[in-house]
């Protein structure tokens, strides 16, 4: 075991005195914020120093998207976030994870926060009267009542803002869906395998302007798993190992309204770190495996992951063949748009496809050469971003 080198240090703490009968209540987000403030004050560090976040669960979020909620509420950008769920070992587990992340250079200053505090009495009784989102979720309170519910509206607003700033046509977005469908025709596991053209996309109903039905993922059921092991064991593995040579992560918000910029996305910070860590150039990538909840997501990822210049994604997809036969193979499994999005397993499909291609097992859609793959995962409303660079050896 290589082990920690002892290069990450605790430099500040905060604690609330335990009380048997508390004289006040806290929403979860508020308690995280106060403990963050006190610990940073003790450390003599500033709010802007924080770029990592290890926490317990967040009741306010209804059990999901704690890092997104917390980065947004605290106003920080986090390069390594984790909800630690190890019971009484959560505190020690959080500090171990922080030390690992800091020694690897994933982040530099991490907040580790856990608390058990009484919440105010829920005025809804926690019952079905508040149908959408947990009580105390800022999205539930400040987005949902306006009809800003789900994900479609958010990516539609990103697409409109992008078109306003840089120009983008419906047909350019549609090209992504069309090429990915071509890929899916060669994938027997894909949900949608009938070829489509640009007109099919543009003639499908507009769901939220400007996004058409065929630009939006179809929720479905499924699952996936990946085994990661050491170099020693990888050498004895059944298939060609795909080494994870670079990774980067960035989260700044959950609700799209509080995304610092709709067009300069947090994808860039994640991808730049992954490529720099890997020492791999964009031009060396044989397959781009990019999270594709919507066509616009792919365009922004191509751009902010550095495959083309800012504002050039529309032109890029027009000028390149994104199919497995093309000059820029992308989402050769069909992407989630055609393969299907099985909840959080949807984003795993970009990794399983990468491994199938790297091991020459992608069947009719097999690339002639596939040694280096860029994988990108996107969560929430352009919120959580994680990039990987994989290399087969």
């Amino acid at each position: 075991m290589r082990g920690l080198r002892g290069e990450a240090a605790i430099v500040g703490i905060a604690e609330f005195a335990p009380v048997r009968r508390p004289d006040r209540t806290w929403m979860g987000l508020e308690a995280y914020a106060e403990l963050a403030r006190l610990a940073l004050e003790d450390a003599g560090l500033g709010h802007d120093d924080v770029d990592g976040l290890m926490t317990g669960h967040l009741a306010d979020s209804g059990g999901l998207f704690a890092p997104g909620h917390l980065t947004e509420y605290l106003g920080i950008g986090s390069h390594f976030s984790e909800v630690v769920d190890l019971g009484g070992a959560t505190g020690a587990g959080a500090v171990l994870r922080a030390a690992m992340a800091i020694e690897l250079g994933l982040c530099e200053t991490a907040l580790c926060i856990v608390h058990t505090l009484p919440r105010p009495k829920n005025p809804t009784g926690g019952g079905p009267t508040f149908r959408m989102g947990a009580w105390g979720s800022p999205m539930g309170e400040f987005d949902y009542p306006f009809g800003a519910v789900g994900q479609n509206y958010a990516y539609a607003m990103i697409a409109n803002r992008y078109a306003y700033e840089y120009g983008l046509t419906d047909a350019q977005r549609a090209k992504v869906a069309v090429d990915q469908r071509t890929n899916a025709t060669a994938n027997p596991k894909a949900v949608f395998r009938d070829p489509i053209d640009i007109d099919d996309v543009l003639n499908s109903p507009v769901i939220v302007d400007p996004l058409h039905m065929l630009e939006i993922v179809m929720p479905c059921f499924g699952g996936a798993a990946v085994v990661v092991t050491s170099k020693e064991k990888a050498k004895r593995a059944r298939h060609r190992p795909a080494y994870i040579v670079g990774g980067g992560e960035y989260t700044t918000h959950l609700s799209v309204t509080y995304d610092p910029s709709f067009t300069e996305t947090p994808i860039r910070a994640a991808a730049d770190r992954a490529f720099a860590m890997a020492g791999v150039k964009r031009s060396e990538v044989d397959l781009a495996s990019l999270y594709d909840c919507y066509t616009i997501t792919v365009l922004l990822t191509l751009e902010d992951a550095g495959f083309c210049g800012k504002g050039e994604a529309g032109k890029f997809v027009e000028e390149h063949d994104l199919t497995y036969r093309g000059d820029f193979p992308m989402n050769t499994h069909g992407g989630q748009l055609s393969f299907g999005q099985a909840g959080m397993a949807g984003g795993m499909s970009h990794i399983t496809e990468a491994y199938l291609q790297l091991t020459g097992r992608a069947g009719d859609r097999q690339l002639r050469r596939c040694d280096t793959v860029f994988v990108h995962g996107n969560g929430g409303l352009m919120s959580e971003q994680v990039s990987l660079v994989l290399r087969g050896e």
Binding site: T25, M27, L29, E30, A33, E34, A36, R37, L40, G46, H47, E72, Y73, L74, G75, P120, P123, T124, F130, R131, M132, W135, G136, P138, G140, E141, F142, D143, Y144, P145, F146, G147, A148, V149, G150, N152, Y153, A156, M157, I158, N160, R161, Y164, P205, V206, I207, V208, D209, P210, S255, V256, T257, Y258, F262
Partner: protein, 139 residues
């Protein structure tokens, strides 16, 4: 009764920290928070998202802003909004700087333009809750 939407659900359920904002909208005032370092922010929080200060005060916003982005929901975003389609979901950049999610009203969807100047308009959805919507300035 709501003026700009067909149902009274979903409604915001205030927390102790956010209650003053919703008290403000009931009085047809749009309130933001300002910390002791002068950072103005929205949505309401216990701490400033730019410096984590917990010394905060409420300040009244002008109610003016510009449209940062929008979409027209042609299909309901949830069953609650089935009767409202098409409607315009908006992100408004307030004159004071912060953004907020809202809906545009008193405008044809085809007339909506990013960058257009907006002003707040209050909709008393129930006796307890008033939602802040936006319409083109000078409507």
């Amino acid at each position: 009764m709501p003026k700009y939407r067909t149902t009274t659900e979903p409604l915001p359920v205030p927390t102790p920290v956010t209650q003053p904002f919703w008290d403000g909208t009931r009085e047809h005032r749009l309130l933001l928070q300002r910390c002791d370092a002068g950072h103005v922010f929205f949505y309401p929080r216990s701490h400033c998202p730019r410096c984590l200060s917990n010394r905060l005060e409420w300040v009244e916003a002008s109610g003016r802003g510009t449209l940062y982005s929008y979409t027209i929901a042609r299909r309901p975003t949830s069953p609650d909004f089935e009767q409202d389609v098409p409607f315009v979901i908006a992100v408004v950049e307030l004159e004071e700087g912060p953004r907020m999610t809202s809906r545009l009203v008193e405008v044809e969807p085809g007339e909506v333009r990013i960058g257009m100047r907006l002003e707040v308009v209050f909709d008393d959805v129930t006796d307890a809750v008033t939602l802040p919507y936006f319409r083109p300035a000078g409507t």
